[in-house]
Amino acid sequence: MNKFSLATVALATFLTSFGPGVPGTAVKPDADNAGLKLPSGFGALVAAEGLGHARHLAVTPEGDLYVKVEGTRNKGNTIWYLQDTNGDGKIDRKTGFFKYDGTGIAVKGNYLYASSNTDVYRFKLNDKHQVIDTARSETIVTGLINRHQHEAKAFTLDNDGNLYVNIGAYSNSCQIKDRTKGSLGMQPCPILDSAGGIWQFKADKLNQTYGDGQRYATGLRNVVGLDWNTRLNQLFVMQHGRDQLHDLFPDMYDEKQSAELPAECMYALHKGSDCGWPYIYYDQIQHKKILAPEYGGDGKKTGGDHIQDPAAAYPGHMAPNAILFYTGSMFPEKYRNGAFIAFHGSWNRAPEPQKGYFVVFQPFKDGKPAGDWEIFAEGFAGPGEIKSPGQAQHRPCGLAQGPDGSLYISDDVKGTVYRIVYNK
């Protein structure tokens, strides 16, 4: 009897020592798969909800979550630290801290990195990857441009102590008069000196600004989704392509063309990459780099011979807000080292129906996209056609991989965190 209760205690301790998302702990999908449609064998559960406008998220090796929130205008908590203490997959402990709105968050080594719309900060973590002092952050990068447009400073880190920060262009297409019908492009585009690209900084040096960093890649209008591919040792980014071809140049583009073009592009970057914004855009139907109408284009003239080609191209305006290379072992073989992409969903396809609001899987082979992308998870927005983005009940925004190989997806409408598992 004594031995038995001892064994029970030991077993209980053993079981609770498995945190959420740790290998060996199987969580059950919700009966309705959290309202999502997934490929056969996959299930989904709502891990957390009501977090506010949840943007990117990070998972610790213990399976705890850090979720970055925006839209409080620096009045509320903008990082949530979430724990599932009983291992059922549902978050049951929540702590909030940090006062700056923003999108980016990452756990790297013993630090939690998070960005506002101008700066990147970090917090020291203990050996359980918990923030030691939530009131004490270090400023890593400061003073980046924020002019009300493409202001999110999404970032990622490599394994060599570097930090890669998106500085989005504060413009649609570098017109002399932004978003004004017929206005031509500035030549050269002065925005590219301080924005419209990815800047590289040191991950451990304090108070860096423009002069301390390097423009790693240019000609990128705005990047929200980016990931360091550890296998290829290379930075991959998803560009948000330009808006309003029809509104600004109605003689050259009809509404349908304007909804579909230009492509949302994946780029495999290297130091010095130039992806061509604002001078050219990529047309995924003609499979060509097309001269932008602001710079003498007519929808057909090609341009930018020296400009890097995208690694993959997707329909226009779907707003890729996260890319994640899957390195787990929970999902079937075909997903390993391929990319998941969260498409936040369009607004610039109006009056045509909107598109996106789903998570896509892009197969990779030999380090390159291989084969057509496929919809992996959909149903975030709710039933029926989405005519305007305000109708969407949820919008996928961030992606993260749990230590057990689960895929986490954040939603920035209602602050739901979905967890996708594979059980067959």
Binding site: G71, R73, D178, K181, D247, A350, K387, S388, P389, G390
Partner: protein, 134 residues
Amino acid sequence: MRIWMIAAVLLGSCGVALGQNTTAASIARGKVLYQNICLACHQADGSGVPRMNPPLIKTSFVLGDKTKLITIVLKGLNDDVEIEGEYYSNPMPPQAQLKDQEIADVLTYVRNSFGNKASAVKAAEVKVVRAKIK
């Protein structure tokens, strides 16, 4: 006497028709302008884009002070806008190239669509605001 009465009736109905026509026609013209200039950002149903482009549905910006509303169209807007606890940050380009009557039409359309009900904006009102901000 008879002629006078007929003339009065004619004039009266003409006046009424003209009055209705003015607002209805302004809304109709405004709708076309809205579709060409405003819809991409503010959407067909006026709901805008969450946290980027403000909604135009029953907000104080749309239903309130006309001078302020006309000024936004003429000068654009590059400030954060708060509506019901949400912040909208995308800049709006100025639309000063539009004629007084066109601005009056599009605003009359917006103030009488998407569930909104408010008085028409007149070209003369736009003219006054335009003169002031120059």
